[in-house]
């Protein structure tokens, strides 16, 4: 196990998250993809933390986790709102605002 392999693993997860983000129609599924991406970022931190040492990387992960959770909370609220509006959480339905 090297830093490189860890980073590439993270990149893979990030890419998968990206893929999910841009292909899934379901709002919740998009949230899941965002989670994957955030998770990938955390992996990178952790990997650097392991190989480079020092507390900053790990601290950052903690902050990142908190931020992600906050985002998820708001995101889910929005999903709920969307569902009330359209009766579904397929975000494609929410495309009225365009001309």
């Amino acid at each position: 196990m090297t830093l490189t392999s860890c980073l590439i693993l993270a990149a893979a997860v990030m890419a998968i998250g990206l893929y999910g983000l841009v292909t899934r129609k379901q709002a919740v599924a998009m949230l899941l993809s965002v989670e994957l991406m955030a998770n990938a970022a955390n992996m990178v931190f952790a990997a650097y933390g392991h190989f480079r040492g020092g507390p900053s990387a790990q601290v950052f992960v903690l902050f990142a986790l908190a931020i992600t959770v906050a985002e998820v909370a708001v995101g889910l609220a929005l999903v709920m709102l969307l569902y009330r509006r359209h009766g579904d959480t397929t975000v494609d339905l929410a495309s009225e605002a365009r001309q």
């Binding site: 890419a15 989670e35 190989f51 040492g53 790990q58 601290v59 708001v74 609220a77 709920m80």
Partner: protein, 185 residues
């Protein structure tokens, strides 16, 4: 660059990747959330392997325990009553695939070329160290983070709370959709 074989990583990495793939491709949203849980657990294992047990713990607690639960809740709440599972989108998936792979390839190549290899892992930071830094160096950030969480909570509550008389009236008239949290006031 030397590539040493590491059993833990060799097991964890495929789990993470495969479960992540299932997250984005699973037709059933509940399944997808569960697969996410698997990914996150795998990540926690990776943290542990990376000498960050504290992180692993946090990961399990907040993510697997918190986020995944929240997600499942979200799915349950918003699933349509006829119970049909959502299908993974296929529209535009080629574009997504292309750009996602482009991103991956790009990043991998750069990583490979930069070769940030540090053969000897540094000494790990203890939880105590973390706490010290958190409350000194990162104090302001920490404070701001608390504000951030407060804002998120307030925001989330405001969004889902149903108080607006107009909406309530509409709901009573049946023009809006029936919801789990019928009418608050």
């Amino acid at each position: 660059m030397n590539f040493e074989f590491d059993l833990g990583f060799s097991i964890i990495a495929p789990i993470i990747v495969v479960s992540a793939l299932f997250v984005v491709r699973a037709k059933n949203l509940i399944h997808a959330v569960l697969w996410l849980g698997a990914t996150l657990l795998g990540t926690a294992a990776l943290y542990a392997r990376l000498n960050a047990p504290f992180l692993a713990g946090v990961q399990v607690l907040t993510y697997v325990g918190g986020v995944v639960t929240l997600m499942i809740f979200g799915v349950m709440v918003t699933r349509r009553h006829d119970g049909i599972d959502a299908e993974a989108s296929s529209e535009g998936s080629e574009r997504g695939l292309i750009f996602a792979s482009a991103f991956f390839v790009l990043l991998s190549v750069v990583t490979w070329k930069t070769a940030p290899s540090i053969p000897n892992p540094a000494p790990i930071a203890t939880s105590a160290q973390l706490a010290r830094v958190l409350l000194d160096y990162y104090l302001i950030a920490f404070e701001a983070l608390s504000l951030l969480l407060l804002a998120a909570i307030v925001g989330a509550v405001v969004l889902v709370r149903r108080k607006d008389p107009e909406a309530v009236t509409k709901l009573r008239q049946g023009s809006a959709l029936p919801l789990i949290n019928e009418v608050e006031s």
